[in-house]
Symmetry: C2
Subunit: 127 residues, 2 copies
Amino acid sequence: MSFADNLKYNSDGLIPAIIQDVDDNTVLMMAYMNKDAVIATVETGKTNFWSRSRQKYWIKGESSGHIQEVKEIFYDCDADTLLIKVKQHGGACHVGYRSCFYTKVNKDGSTETVGEKVFDPDQIYKK
Amino acid sequence: MSFADNLKYNSDGLIPAIIQDVDDNTVLMMAYMNKDAVIATVETGKTNFWSRSRQKYWIKGESSGHIQEVKEIFYDCDADTLLIKVKQHGGACHVGYRSCFYTKVNKDGSTETVGEKVFDPDQIYKK
């Protein structure tokens, strides 16, 4: 897994991964991977991340079924950011939206919600 | 500038900003902003960043002329990542490519360069 060795991880051993829809290039979310999560993502073909808040691995969709099939992987000129194009099953955002970037900043500094919910989190995530 | 106050900055006071082409949704680059850079980005309509390596502000295009006109600003459900849609003048990557994500990882773990250079850095950046 030569490329995972060549990435530049931050002082916490993490690299940010931008997740983009392979079909229409919508940016769905950004989350962090450590080296093992990068390797697991390649080997399983599904996005694996490291949760900074929970300090554990997580597979996108492990609770919701909303997995991300990995289609293409890129990294940037500094080798410190990943861009992963995926086929998203269900919605990417745990709040219920297709993309986590559903808050738009208006020119006057106020914000508005854009996009519609594609699932009901109360029904998807068992409590 | 209420929304800049509501963003969650990391322990270095920074928030990652994904820069996306407003026309075709290509992800061009990712860089970091502190709160003042967020405010300057909104007020000037051009992307401003904080350089972690140089510990100084920089305006995208200040040397190259390859500015990014800010068209839309979003932030994610955790308020810890920005997504900024821009009209990119010239190329976004200092190496000469349109996007910094010009390195693609193949299924066997090898990498290849995708995309073509849109400018010659030696001619654009004065030495």
